[in-house]
């Protein structure tokens, strides 16, 4: 009795679990990655869907077989016990040949997508932007007309006075024209080289639509580069636990046409 209930239950659960994956919605909420707005994102999405197919098949197959066998063989009164054709050896072979090989192949293919993000350096003409993450906000810095960033002096940081980066305009000419912004404004279809600097503890830069996620590690100056292909406003959130305000640490990625971007830049630098 219990066996049959379990068999039915496990099959139902398996099928129900698969439904939202196929329909992309669950309780009215869309549960699928948003449309990608980057040049490299497609590779990741393809990788994701291939993996989803394989994982989904293995998942359903395993659960259904489990249910089937339990339904059939639970509580048989006596009866000679059949052994599975092939026995353990068959299992080992199957595991190695199919699952193992397939998963490894998957990894090989996937490493290409990874490479697109991390193995190629940013182009020389890429727009240089510095991102600083601190408890609990992102701030972005553009080099300004002189095209060079002023030096950072963490001890000079004065957030109440909008000196989020610890610039020293008094003594540092380079810093005087640096443009500081509360959101990341970039021109569309232009590569952006984002240099990441952590002010205090670990943070992370995550834009779903951009298929970009990268930690800010204090003391390590990391960088990512991407090209946004669609004008619009997208949320930037912190994904590395950074303290009590973590849930509220966000900003916006504002992708503009080149003209609008230039206008914006001018309006900031006045």
């Amino acid at each position: 009795m219990g066996g049959k209930i379990f068999a039915v239950l496990v099959v139902v659960i398996a099928l129900l679990s698969a439904v939202p994956i196929i329909t992309h919605t669950f309780l009215g909420a869309s549960v699928t990655p948003p449309d990608d707005i980057s040049t490299h994102g497609k590779a990741i999405d393809d990788q994701l869907s291939v993996t989803m197919a394989e994982a989904g098949i293995s998942f359903l197959a395993a659960q259904l077989i489990l249910g089937l066998f339990v339904w059939q063989f639970a509580h048989r009164k006596g009866g000679a016990t059949k052994t599975f054709p092939g026995g353990a050896t068959a299992m080992v072979i199957v595991a190695f040949l199919f699952v193992g090989a397939e998963v490894l192949a998957l990894g090989m293919v996937g490493s290409k997508a990874w490479g697109m993000v991390y193995f190629q350096p940013a182009a020389d003409n890429a727009l240089q932007v510095q991102a600083q993450a601190g408890q609990f906000a992102f701030y972005f810095r553009y080099p300004g007309p002189d095209g060079r960033f002023g030096a950072l002096h963490p001890e000079k940081i004065d957030e109440g006075n909008s000196n989020f980066f610890g610039l020293d305009p008094e003594n540092d000419i380079l810093a005087r024209d640096d443009i500081t912004a509360g959101e990341l404004v970039v021109p569309v279809d232009k590569e952006v080289h984002l240099m990441m600097h952590a002010k205090d503890v670990g943070h992370s830069f995550y834009v779903r639509e951009l298929r970009i996620q990268q930690d800010f590690v204090p003391g390590l100056d990391l960088s990512v580069h991407f090209t946004a292909t669609k004008v619009g406003k997208y949320e930037i959130v912190c994904t590395q636990l950074c303290g009590l305000g973590h849930y509220n640490m966000k900003s916006y990625l504002n992708v503009m046409s080149q003209d609008d971007f230039d206008k914006w830049l001018k309006s900031q630098s006045n």
Binding site: V10, I13, L66, F73, H75, L104, V201, P218, G219
Partner: protein, 591 residues
């Protein structure tokens, strides 16, 4: 050390209450103590998770009674953002260290490993006692964080530096709370090392006559392999904790780089490496996952074989798979750090061994399924939980495909997909193993049977409930729902709140279902029907003890002699379709 053994050998059964039940040297009592501690921890951890779930979906409405429990953390019962993170940290730490490490490994292992190999006790009973009471001290230190300063730490169970290292400037709980956390984990490491040492020596040296390594039941193997893993894992976490504590109290700079401005306070440190902490922590942290799951795998296989009334296709292959997993578990820690600024090439280096773990995992799953084929599976609470384990193990396992690939991890890292993944495979699956073990061994541990009807209800509700909780986690992850958020106010998170509501209801439902288990446990302990010495007609040594619970020396002065491989089922013998390992009969195979 040898003094321990000599003494253990010469002293007789204790008479005083203290020596019998509190500071007992008897591995059975210590096993039960570990089990009780794990129960206390799991109940605490579950209540914390309820508060978190309630807060997530009704962020500004007070939780009844909480305002009275924690005036600072929840003024008027409304959980503050920092308090949410503090609860989350304590939930993770309690569950991973004091439940998943203690219950399947330390608790059942202590009780049944010596019996299964025909020993009278652990190799070093005094170490055994010490390791439990050290664990207990660690537990008290951790819990005390709730009552001092501004509460427990908020840096998560992974305690990433520098958030965990810079002290009070990092936020509430990061002062004394985080220090207590570090000390607690340090002490826990000592306890685990003592325990692992004890398990290994016991397995290698105290097997009774005829109990060759190849004749050990699969679950003893699981405990043995686990103890080898934890010996190396905790030996790395301990110095890591030491360095963390020094950074906090002695002003050293192991994990804290120069030029940090935390809340307008310049940190007087330089040159430290936050990644160093991550490396040391995950070098322990990933094997820890297998410390939790391998004993469960062993327990489940052991119980399934008994209930299928025939050996698995090959229980040896399963043992080899466990060894393979244990070995691989030391080459994959970097897959937790794909996005934390390691050399991008090393991400691939860590990715492939991770993917390779699917192979032994798949072999085990296939062997379980294949063994079910054509068996005479007996359905009872224990075997049902084993089936539930397999189902969960698969569900949690396949999501590993995704996270093992750095490219996909770019999108899914630090989302609820990860949370769903490890809760299923490491949390629920392991706990199902613990439940199975409880229903299976309860008669031996107490001399009474557990109530089967309640057991089945408990199983079905738990199965439905846990799937209802953790499957949607994966959907949320695919939608990019970030984890460790104490409220969902971002534009793309607000639409997902209905899903979170659903999960919260499921969590409360599942938690309520566990009351059935607790009631069953207490009721059966005192009022359950008396258990025959071998209720499940099982072959391994724990069922050949003269009484249930076994006498102080397990075999009543006898030294069991072992004649058979562990799983002689489906044979004809004077006892029926099975043959005890200790029975000198020769088995006649069934035609």
């Amino acid at each position: 050390m040898s003094e321990m053994s000599v003494h253990a050998a010469v002293h007789a059964a204790p008479t005083s209450f203290i020596r019998k039940y509190v500071f007992s040297l008897d591995h059975k009592v210590i096993g039960l103590q570990y089990y009780a501690l794990a129960m206390a921890a799991v109940v605490t951890g579950m209540v914390l998770s309820w508060i978190m779930r309630i807060h997530l979906v009704w962020p500004n409405s007070p939780v009844p009674g909480l305002g009275w429990l924690s005036k600072v953390g929840a003024p008027g019962g409304v959980v503050t953002p920092e308090y949410y993170l503090q609860l989350m940290t304590m939930h993770g730490t309690l569950m991973v260290f004091f439940v998943l490490t203690n219950a399947p490994f330390a608790a059942f292992g202590n009780y049944f490993l010596p019996i299964q190999i025909g020993a009278e006790d652990m190799a070093f009973p005094r170490f055994n006692m010490m390791s439990f009471w050290t664990t207990f001290v660690a537990f008290c230190i951790l819990i005390s964080a709730f009552f001092v300063g501004d509460g427990p730490p908020l840096s998560g169970w992974t305690g990433y530096a520098p958030l965990s290292a810079v002290g009070r400037d990092a936020g509430p709980g990061q002062a004394v709370g985080q220090s207590l956390w570090g000390v607690s984990i340090f002490v826990f490491c000592i306890a685990s090392l003592l325990g692992a040492l004890n398990f290994i020596a016991t397995t290698l040296d105290l097997r009774s006559k005829g109990m060759t390594l190849s004749r050990m039941p699969i679950v003893s193997w699981a405990w043995f392999i686990t103890s080898c893993i934890s010996l190396l894992a905790f030996a790395v976490l301990m110095p890591a904790c030491l360095l963390l504590i020094l950074d906090r109290v002695a002003g050293t700079s192991f994990f804290i780089p120069a030029g940090l401005n935390v809340a307008d306070h310049m940190q007087q440190h330089q040159g430290g490496s936050p990644l160093l902490w991550q490396h040391l922590f995950w070098f322990f942290g990933h094997p820890e996952v297998y410390i939790a799951i391998l004993p469960a795998i062993g327990i489940v296989s052991h119980i399934l074989i008994c209930n299928m009334r025939r050996n698995m296709l090959s229980h040896k292959v399963v043992i080899y798979c466990m060894m393979a997993i244990g070995f691989l578990s030391y080459m994959v820690w970097g897959h937790h750090m794909f996005l934390s600024g390691m050399n991008p090439f090393s991400a691939l280096v860590f990715s492939f061994p991770t993917l390779m773990i699917t192979i032994p995992a798949t072999i085990m799953t296939l062997i379980w399924l294949g063994s079910l084929y054509g068996s005479n599976l007996r359905i009872n609470s224990a075997s049902l939980f084993c089936l539930g384990f397999i189902s969960m193990f698969v569900s949690g396992g396949v999501s590993g495909f995704f996270l093992a690939q750095p490219s996909i991890d770019i999108y899914l890292h630090a989302t609820y997909f990860v949370v769903g993944h490890f809760h299923m495979v490491m949390g629920v699956a392991a706990i199902m193993g613990v439940f199975a073990g409880t229903y299976f061994w309860f008669p031996k541990m107490t001399g009474r049977m557990m109530n089967e009807t309640l057991g089945k209800w408990h199983f079905f509700l738990t199965l439905i409930g846990t799937y209802a909780i953790f499957m949607p986690f994966h959907y949320l992850g695919l939608a990019g729902n970030v984890r460790r958020y104490s409220a969902f106010q971002d534009d793309f998170l607000v639409p997902l709140i209905p899903v979170h509501k659903f999960i919260t209801y499921a969590a409360l439902f599942t938690g309520a279902a566990q009351l059935i288990f607790i009631y069953n446990l207490i009721y059966s302990r005192f009022k359950g029907e008396a258990a025959p010495p071998n209720p499940w007609e099982c072959t391994s040594l724990e069922w050949s003890t003269p009484s249930s619970p076994p006498p102080f020396d397990n075999f009543g002065g006898q030294h069991p002699v072992v004649y058979h491989d562990p799983y002689q089922y489906g044979v004809t013998s004077s006892t029926g379709d099975y043959l005890m390992q200790t029975s000198p009969e020769r088995a006649g195979e069934t035609p």
